[in-house]
């Protein structure tokens, strides 16, 4: 069965500190992996996808197929990074764009 685990429901850091949001997945095949973010009073939106290898708002995520992980990292957290973050694998193929979301991590960046 396809599964994604975000072990931390809550994560608190201080401004300027490094932050890592963990995501582990259990998927057959080679899924595409995404991070979605929901800022306060805003819609859930795509943050980044692993295939594009981008850095968005200073965040990066490395796919580790051996560990089946896709952790989200930022070297220096900012207060505006406070939000709910979801890891979401996509099975690809004929899955019709369906995503499986993790339970989410609420990140709070303190001043």
């Amino acid at each position: 069965a396809q599964r994604v685990t975000q072990p931390e429901k809550l994560l608190s850091v201080f401004k300027g500190a490094p932050v890592e949001l963990k995501c582990n997945y259990s998927y057959s095949g080679s899924p595409e992996l995404f991070w979605y973010v929901q800022y306060s009073r805003q819609r859930l939106q795509l943050l980044l996808r692993h295939i594009s290898r981008e850095s968005i708002k200073g965040f990066t995520a490395d796919l580790n197929k051996g560990e089946t992980s896709f952790h989200l990292k930022k070297p220096f957290a900012q207060e505006e990074d406070s939000a709910m973050y979801y890891c979401a694998p996509h099975a690809g193929g004929t899955s019709y764009g369906k995503l499986t979301f993790g339970q989410g991590t609420i990140l709070t960046v303190h001043p």
């Binding site: 979605y36 795509l46 996808r49 764009g97 499986t100």
Partner: protein, 110 residues
Amino acid sequence: SQTIHQWPATLVQPVGSPLSLECTVEGTSNPNLYWYRQAAGRGLQLLFYSVGIGQISSEVPQNLSASRPQDRQFILSSKKLLLSDSGFYLCAWSTAYEQYFGPGTRLTVT
């Protein structure tokens, strides 16, 4: 540009009452459409998805149903609400991989 609308934004309904939540998409044609629920303390759970008019797939057994009467309209319904139906309901549409979400409906069943 594409936009997605959901209404109502909030809803308080008694147990046993019917439910109808509506989602419409503008600026695209034949989108894949999705209904998700976020229950308190839980992640986003995919409830239904649709790849075309009248084509609905259910991901989990539940008290809800979905319909797609038009290409860009997706409706979530229930004949009799349960307390466990309370939650935050999100509609989304997708391109090949990226999903675009509506503002959500907060449903409280009392």
